[in-house]
Symmetry: C2
Subunit: 77 residues, 2 copies
Amino acid sequence: MRAKIEVFLKPGVLDPQGETIKRALHTLGYEAIRDVRQGKVFYIEIEGEDAERTIEEVAKRVLSNPVIEDYRWEIEK
Amino acid sequence: MRAKIEVFLKPGVLDPQGETIKRALHTLGYEAIRDVRQGKVFYIEIEGEDAERTIEEVAKRVLSNPVIEDYRWEIEK
């Protein structure tokens, strides 16, 4: 089974990396871009019947920092 | 308008970061996890009528490295 976990900064948390990308895009002429925020995505192959519980646990306890990040996940197939 | 661009390594390209995460998860007892690959995700706010063309162009020419990475994007709203 394949799962995808997205980890992204909570609203209000500064994202200097996203800001830098936005400025670079403006310099390149992409002025229509108003905001960029960067996150991480993990593609996970997992076996077993408890896969959904494991993915939730791994997303919450290992792959995200609950102080500044949120996460969401889905099973892809 | 909000778009999401995912950038991920092409199949066959080594992902040492994903390997490290997989080993760490095994050490923590998550043995059911067979494989981990990490990618990037960009959340973009964009204005204007040409948004879809701009997003495709930015994904292809700026945010991904076509030698080792693929990308996909969607408009979220």
